[in-house]
């Protein structure tokens, strides 16, 4: 039953089942792939299979060890993730893990260590892990998960077997989301999630959608001067009291939606003569009727420039720009490009 919970990762599941049945399980795996496609879930299920009393390639979900894993009380499964309120995994956590590694397992035949979001290890923590990761005592299994394999040290990556998790197919995300949302309007959300359920949920949260709707309305009716009221609304929506990190992440999500809108227009402008809108994989399919009139006035170059502005603003978010000014500047530029680029001639 257990691996059934992992959706659309048949390749990965098949690989591990073969590995287990051939008894060729390595000592360290790096599970990488987009956010929210089931990496951590998989790590837990894998531990369950290894501990299960049935000793097959599927966990029974019924025996004592299986239940212990499910309830998070199995003594031989150690889970390391950033501590509450911390951004990274510190060296202290790794040192503690290392003392655990050299102790014999208590109940099962092996010990499983899961490092969730391994890319969040500090430099000291990552280096500290290196030797243990390369040559742990027999019966140790490391499972590292990460959404950005490139921010991991190559010395860590090179010591693990890499297992890639695929983005979920759009229809799977759709199915998962359909229970929670009105689909007529946001068909594109599944596509926008890029096959990551985690991302899709993030997009639904916090009324991001409502705010982008208001903006798109204004843009489409070309009440361009009203753009600036949006910037105020956004500032109210993510006030300073929320803390910088969550403000950034909120605005980032919002800007991504805006990027998606202009990206749709770009694809429509460039490809609508030869492709159907289905083939273009537009995010905002509901808005297609309005694209025709809108793209008549905007050239590909202008659209590319607007997209560049949005990207620059997104980068500004992470470069400590003043958020208020950043948005005002972005809107000013978008309005200007939409009107034919008076400022930029």
């Amino acid at each position: 039953m257990s691996f059934n919970r992992i959706l659309s990762q048949t390749l990965v599941v098949g690989y591990f089942q073969r590995t287990i049945s051939r008894e060729r399980l390595a000592h360290a795996y790096l599970l990488y792939g987009p956010e929210g496609v089931g990496k951590a879930l998989f790590a837990r299920e894998l531990a369950k299979v290894l501990f299960c009393q049935k000793k097959g390639t599927e966990a029974c979900d019924l025996c004592n060890p299986c239940r212990k894993v499910d309830s998070g009380t199995h003594p031989d499964l150690r889970w390391v993730a950033p501590l509450e309120g911390k951004r990274d995994i510190g060296i202290g956590q790794i040192v503690e893990l290392e003392t655990q590694v050299y102790l014999k397992p208590l109940e099962a035949k092996r010990k499983v260590f899961v490092l969730e979001d391994a890319d969040k290890m500090t430099a000291a923590a990552a280096n500290c892990l290196l030797k243990t990761l390369e040559e742990p005592p027999p019966g140790t299994l490391f499972l590292l998960t990460t959404a950005s394999i490139h921010s991991l040290y190559s010395t860590i990556v090179s010591r693990c077997q890499k297992v890639r998790f695929h983005p979920l197919p759009t229809n799977v995300v759709k199915r998962l989301l359909s229970e929670r949302l009105d689909w007529q309007r946001y068909k594109g959300l599944a596509a926008l999630s890029c096959g990551s359920l985690g991302r899709a949920t993030k997009l639904m949260e916090e009324k991001v959608i409502t705010h982008i709707d208001r903006f798109l309305e204004i843009i489409q009716e070309s009440r361009l001067e009203d753009c600036f009221s949006i910037s105020e609304e956004l500032m109210e929506w993510c006030p300073e009291t929320k803390g910088l990190e969550s403000r950034r992440s909120l605005l980032r999500t919002w800007l991504d939606l805006l990027l998606a809108y202009y990206r749709d227009m770009l694809l429509y402008k460039a490809g609508s003569s030869e492709c159907t809108s289905g083939e273009l994989e537009l995010f905002y399919e509901a808005l297609v009727p309005s694209f025709k009139a809108r793209t008549r006035e905007l050239s590909v170059d202008t659209l590319l420039q607007i997209l560049e502005e949005i990207i620059a603003a997104t980068e500004g978010l992470y470069n400590n720009a003043n958020l208020n000014l950043l948005l005002d500047n972005l809107f000013l530029r978008i309005v200007d490009y939409e009107k034919g680029g008076v400022l930029h001639v």
């Binding site: 690989y15 060729r24 030797k131 950005s148 695929h166 998606a260 694809l267 460039a270 490809g271 590319l304």
Partner: protein, 544 residues
């Protein structure tokens, strides 16, 4: 019962097994044979090239019961202890990143003096040594420089630049290099033979390419592929595991770009996405393909220089002819930017789509072609008797008398005829400053010069502009400079005073202002322009 991965199982146990580090191995072997082994070595280099392995082999060589020797027996207690990773009394391997503090080093120093128990040498292997703290490094310095004769230190690190100079200068340093593609392929072949794995030669090359010089990476990959695939390992298996895109797709995408078919190119991008391919690998593959096109267009088709043995040589040649080198470089640059700037899958997708559309819509004209067309245009124009704009510009600049000879001439004129009145001197001074020191001129032009008899000169400024006076009174350098200029013009050294005066026009109030405005209105545009730019009419007449 537990399975050991290839990377550990096939860790080299003798110098002969070390791959691709001939220089280092030969040096160390000779040192051993001649009995000239230093007391401290540093092995530096990227991941998976054999730093730790070499350090361990060297330890084995020194402590082998039949040694010291260039090739350890791998049979005696000491050798087996090290090979199997058991605790060896006299070979102490320390994880420098986990034991990085000064206390650990103090502990080490305490034990350094104790003689080895069963071997000739006491050997400290400190791996990941770059993570030691500054204090720990400094605590080690004295011991590292002059350890007891029975002690050897072997350091291994991927980041030698993080070590203090003082440590570096006390060690013999060996820089290990990335392992070449051929060496990796050969090593993997040996390994496959021993493990009885069937694998295509091409698949091995693909693995080696992906490993980017790290032997351990390539071994892990082979290990995985063995489980992943049924029967013989093929290139398709490698691509499947890595999420790579088949080369035909990449070639087709470039072809769409050449044909300026944006929708077609976007379609290909979308197809690859639907197949769940790895974006990063996809972009990298396009980059490698473009790189090969660049090589072909520069050096002709030479399979040795190419990264991939592309099957369609003819196709590759045709494409390399369709794109100029500048275009290829621009394409490579744009795609590298995509790779660099994208933070996640969503951005990667949008950026790639943007780049593809940009590339398909861009008009690629090589710079040489544009230049040729420009030259042609110029020729046509000159044959019709029209002078190109830039030549015209040059001449008009000459007209204003900026050339050095003419300036010298003006200089002479000034010196030849000393000015009659003080007003004339003032105008001359301003003219000269205008040419030579714009900044001074800009504030001086507000003022006027008066002579108070006895050769004393007063420089006056309007009362509402007191700044220049203050400035000149406080800034001696500027004042001396001004005096020197005046000396040049008047032929004698003046004594300068500074004062303020009431401006008549301002005193007149609103009435005068109105009058002034009226006067302004009465002037023609040309007159106003001349006033602002201080120009003069040279020639009157209509346009030709």
């Amino acid at each position: 019962m537990t399975y050991t991965v290839f990377a550990r199982k096939y860790r080299p146990q003798t110098f002969e097994e070390v791959v691709g580090q001939e220089a280092v191995v030969t040096t160390l072997k000779n040192a051993l044979l001649q009995g000239r082994v230093a007391h401290a070595y540093l092995f530096a280099g990227p991941r998976g090239v054999g730093k730790t392995s070499i350090a361990r082999i060297l330890a084995k060589c020194l402590n082998c019961q039949k040694g010291p020797t260039g090739s350890p027996c791998n049979e005696c207690d000491s050798c087996r202890c090290i090979s199997e990773g058991r605790d060896h009394m006299d070979v102490i391997e320390i994880d420098g990143a986990s034991n990085r503090g000064i206390d650990e080093i103090r502990n080490l120093r305490k034990n350094v003096g104790i003689c080895p128990s069963s071997s000739p040498y006491k050997i400290y292997i400190i791996d990941e040594v770059h993570m030691l703290t500054r204090e720990a490094f400094n605590a080690l310095l004295k011991t590292l420089e002059e350890p007891p004769s029975h002690v050897k230190f072997f350091f291994a690190t991927t980041a030698p630049h993080k070590l203090p100079e003082t440590i570096l200068s006390r060690c013999q340093r060996f820089d290990l290099k990335n392992i070449s593609l051929e060496d990796i392929v050969n090593r993997l072949k040996q390994l496959a033979k021993k493990e009885k794995i069937e694998v295509e030669e091409e698949a091995l090359r693909a693995i080696a390419r992906y490993a980017k010089g790290g032997l351990r990476d390539s071994q892990s990959l082979l290990d995985q592929l063995w489980v992943f695939s049924e029967g013989k390992i093929t290139v398709a298996d490698v691509q499947g595991l890595l999420g790579a895109v088949p080369e035909e797709k990449v070639a087709a995408l470039v072809e769409r770009l050449i044909q300026k078919d944006a929708p077609g190119a976007v379609k290909i991008v979308h197809e690859t996405l639907k197949e769940g391919k790895d974006w990063d690998a996809f972009i990298e593959q396009i980059l490698w393909y473009l790189r090969d096109l660049l090589v072909v267009s520069t050096c002709g088709y030479n399979s040795e220089l190419l990264e991939n043995p592309w099957r369609e040589a003819q196709f590759l040649k045709a494409q390399s002819q369709a794109l100029s080198r500048e275009t290829l470089m621009a394409m490579i640059y744009m795609l590298t930017e995509v790779k660099r700037r994208a933070r996640d899958d969503f951005q990667q997708r949008v950026f790639l789509e943007m780049a593809v559309i940009k590339l398909a819509m861009m008009d690629f004209h090589p710079l040489s072609e544009i230049l040729a067309r420009l030259e042609e245009l110029e020729k046509k124009l000159s044959s019709r008797g029209v002078v190109p704009a830039h030549t015209l510009n040059c001449e008009s600049v000459k007209d204003t008398g900026d050339s050095p000879q003419e300036e010298a001439l003006i200089e002479k004129e000034i010196q030849a005829s000393p000015p009659k009145s003080i007003e004339e001197a003032w105008t001359q001074l301003l003219e000269k400053l205008h040419r030579e020191r714009q900044s001074t001129w800009s504030y001086l032009k507000e003022g006027r010069l008066r002579e108070d008899g006895e050769g004393e000169l007063t420089l006056e400024f309007p009362k509402d502009r007191p700044f220049p006076k203050k400035y000149l009174e406080t800034n001696t350098q500027e004042r001396t400079m001004l005096e020197e200029y005046l000396t040049g013009i008047l032929g004698r050294r003046p004594r300068l005073k500074f004062a303020l005066y009431e401006r008549a026009a301002v005193a007149g109030g609103e009435a005068t202002k109105d009058a002034l405005k009226k006067e302004e209105k009465g002037k023609s545009l040309a007159e106003k322009a001349m006033e602002i730019f201080e120009g003069q009419v040279q020639k009157k007449g209509g346009l030709p």
